[in-house]
């Protein structure tokens, strides 16, 4: 049994073959993008398939997520909400270009996506005076000029994903009303409602919407991962009473049904009502969810939703697919990959990490 467990872990957190193009001046090509804090300053960083830092550039403040074009040639690093910067860059050189323009009455929510052809960049934003979420549309070839926006039909849009066919996007409206005048205060916990929506990327039309049962109105769906069967997996944070501890992971099927995943009670308890990031292997057979408060990574079977494993990693949050498994990072500086941990005690790794696609 010992061998089996070990084999499973090694397969889930295996070392990926390097993909992408070489970082200027480096001998290894980048596989992952992430952000982190070092010496009190924040950086966007490119990592090799073995977790080594290949390149980086400074960020004005704490970063959060990335948008990456399908060809892997363009990426954007976003500020942590309610931040106001989003910096395009070339992952091969880690050379940043001019930040995205942003109206005074908007802020970013830390995530975005590129259209399938890479010509448009869409970013989740807060129209905070109106208290509504928008997906702003930017023209990549014209200095990322803002050329419009779509309503996300909800409050607090967070992570958004491009569909396989490139025609639509799935957006998680976390449902929590915030305003930059009251940093990190949640202004509508008594009446919040989170939704998942699918928007047509040509028209902005609402194609589908899903929400959780009314009893779970304080469960905020925020982070997403897509699988090849057309499902969207999501993970949540619970804003209700701490002892309630509802399921934090779910799956939105192609047919529009939402299914929440029941975990063993001890695992749910350890997650402390907060899942920070979710990732799927390219074949969709494994789903991994991090819980920084509980300091654990939960691994599920992507077809059945069955619980497979939970792994202790204090303050973990960043997770991304790596071959048939995952790489994970933690605020303590630890990188978990290939069945080994690598310590970077001078770095606090941030919430998210993405795998570059060749």
């Amino acid at each position: 049994m010992e061998t089996d467990r070990r084999t499973l872990l090694l397969s889930l957190f295996c070392t990926a073959l390097p993909v992408g193009r070489a970082v200027a001046g480096a001998s290894v090509v980048p596989t992952f993008l992430t952000t982190g804090r070092r010496d009190g300053r924040f950086h966007a960083m490119a990592l090799s398939g073995t977790g080594h830092i290949l390149g980086e550039f400074p960020l004005p403040d704490r970063g959060h997520g990335f948008a990456v074009s399908r060809d892997g040639r363009r990426a954007v690093a976003f500020a942590r909400r309610p931040g106001r910067f989003a910096i395009p860059f070339d992952p091969a050189t880690m050379r940043p270009s001019a930040p995205l323009p942003l109206p005074a009455n908007r802020h970013f929510y830390g995530h975005g996506l590129f259209s399938a052809d890479g010509e448009r960049l869409l970013t989740s934003q807060n129209d905070f005076d109106a208290g509504r979420g928008v997906l702003a549309v930017h023209d990549v070839r014209r200095d990322h000029r803002r050329i419009g926006e779509f309503a996300t039909h909800g409050i607090g849009p967070h992570e958004c994903l491009l569909s396989d066919d490139g025609r639509s996007a799935v957006i998680a409206n976390g449902g929590i009303l915030t305003h930059p005048d009251y940093p990190r205060r949640k202004l509508n916990l008594d009446s919040m409602r989170s939704t998942l929506v699918r928007l047509d990327l040509a028209s902005g039309d609402l194609l589908a919407r899903a929400s959780l049962p009314p009893a779970l109105y304080q469960l905020s769906m925020r982070h997403l991962a897509a699988t090849p069967d057309g499902a969207t997996w999501f993970c949540c944070q619970h804003e209700g009473v701490a002892t309630e501890q509802p399921p934090l992971i779910g799956r939105w099927d192609r047919n529009g049904e939402i299914r929440l995943i029941d975990l063993p009670a001890a695992v749910t308890r350890l997650m402390r009502n907060y899942a920070g990031s979710i990732a799927a292997t390219p074949d969709g057979r494994r789903i991994a969810v991090t819980s920084p408060r509980g300091g654990i990574i939960v691994v599920l079977d992507g077809r059945s939703g069955a619980f497979l494993e939970s792994i202790s990693l204090p303050d973990t949050c960043g997770i991304a697919p790596s071959g048939d498994g995952f790489m994970a990072t933690a605020g303590t500086g630890t990188v978990l990959l290939g069945g080994k941990t690598d310590a970077h005690p001078d770095i606090a790794w941030d919430n998210h990490m993405v795998t570059l696609k060749p």
Binding site: M1, E2, R5, R6, L9, R37, R80, R81, G110, I176, T178, H179, D181, Y182, P183, R184, R185, K186, L189, D190, S191, R222, Q237, V241, A242, T243, Q245, P264, A265, A266, V267, R269, L270, R272, Y274, P292, R293, G294, G295, I296, F307, L308, E309, S310, I311, S312, L313, P314, D315, T316, C317, A330, G331, T332, K340, T341, D342, A343, D350, N351
Partner: protein, 361 residues
């Protein structure tokens, strides 16, 4: 570096799930346990009991002001309101556990009311004389913005010539009933449930695995309250100077309680964070650290008390350059206290602040 053995031993299923516990010395663990007990028994539980008394007194004086209208009975109800604001300001920081359940904290006081939504809802109720708002049962079913202290403050401001109008009386009385019920539920929740969870951490505890997590939850509440006071209750009101100051965003502006409530917020945080005279505390470094925290928070409180010497409400006070300066100064020690907590108090207690554990990301 190879994985720690526990990582390799975790198997399928729940067996072997091991939490990541803080690396704490035995002396730190003893101090953590003592702090939790002290904060509970000397601050949280008594403060919630005082809130129940204050809500009961508000009920009594409101009924008297409405049953026997006179300037004296109205004055008693207004004085009871000021005491109630002070009592609430002692427990305002506990936005988790019983305060989160049934949205009790928001039900007790709806703030921030960023776009004046709550004020407009209360105004509409008063203008339309909505009879369902005069019954505590149906009032509870309405928006939390119309059934707590901010609503009651607006209702009390309806008084003219020393008496309350009839409808305002009935609506106000229903608010005091709801508020009292909510305060009682809060006290029971803390006494019978939350306090026990904090006192008895462990693997079976649904919230706290060890004393470190328990004490960190309490310290975090106090720290967040200081940040809210510094940035939102003072910073957003004061802005850059008297010319740009914004008294309209000040909480409890109508009753003239803005700065008193802020002073109580700081005092309540101080009671959670600073324990220089904790019995049995013989570590001089720890005593000094608590004294430093105590000093910073006392400086801030003293500046706010000095600002209260200037006559008038918050608008008049922040229009006065010297008083505005005093209040700006009061923010600095609050920032210092937050820094002390993050950089020295948590490490001294064997605790760390998770980089990725904040809300909402």
């Amino acid at each position: 570096m190879r994985l720690p053995s526990i990582f390799l031993l975790i198997g399928l299923g729940v067996v072997g799930v091991t939490p990541a516990l803080a690396d704490t010395t035995s002396a730190q663990a003893v101090l953590q346990e003592r702090l939790v007990e002290t904060i509970l028994s000397e601050t949280i539980l008594p403060d919630h009991a005082v809130l129940v008394v204050a809500t009961a007194e508000q009920q009594r004086t409101m009924r008297a002001a409405c049953g026997t209208p006179s300037p004296e009975t109205l004055s008693d109800a207004q004085a009871a309101f000021r005491d109630l604001v002070a009592a609430f300001s002692r427990v305002e920081m506990y936005r988790f556990g019983p305060g989160r359940q049934d949205n009790r904290l928001a039900r007790l006081n709806f703030w921030p009311d960023r776009r004046g939504l709550g004020m407009r809802q209360v105004r509409r109720i008063l203008e339309e004389q909505d009879q369902t708002a005069t019954d505590p049962t149906t009032l509870r079913g309405k928006s939390v913005a119309v059934q707590g202290l901010s609503a009651l403050e607006q209702v009390l401001a309806e008084a003219a010539d020393g008496v309350m109008p009839d409808y305002a009386c009935r609506y106000g009385t229903a608010i005091t009933d709801v508020t009292h019920e909510t305060a009682e539920a809060l006290l029971i929740g803390w006494r019978d449930s939350q306090a026990e969870l904090l006192r008895h951490p462990g693997p079976e505890n649904p919230l706290y695995r060890d004393q470190g997590e328990a004490v960190k939850a309490l310290l975090k509440a106090a720290m967040e309250q200081l940040v809210i006071v510094e940035q939102q209750k003072l910073g957003r009101v004061l802005r850059d100077g008297p010319a740009s100051a914004n008294p309209l965003s000040a909480p409890f502006r109508l009753s003239g309680m803005t700065l008193r409530a802020v002073a109580v917020n700081i005092a309540a945080s101080r009671a959670v964070l600073s324990h220089p005279d904790l019995p049995g505390l013989d570590d001089p470094d720890m005593q000094n650290l608590f004294r430093e925290l105590d000093f910073e928070l006392s400086q801030s409180g003293a500046a706010i008390r000095a600002a209260l010497e200037f006559p008038g409400g918050i608008a008049a006070r922040i229009a006065d350059p010297a008083t505005h300066d005093l209040l700006q100064y009061a923010r600095i020690p609050l920032q210092a206290a937050v820094d002390l907590h993050d950089t020295r108090l948590l490490p001294a207690l064997g605790l760390t602040r998770g980089f990725n554990s904040l809300d909402g990301d």
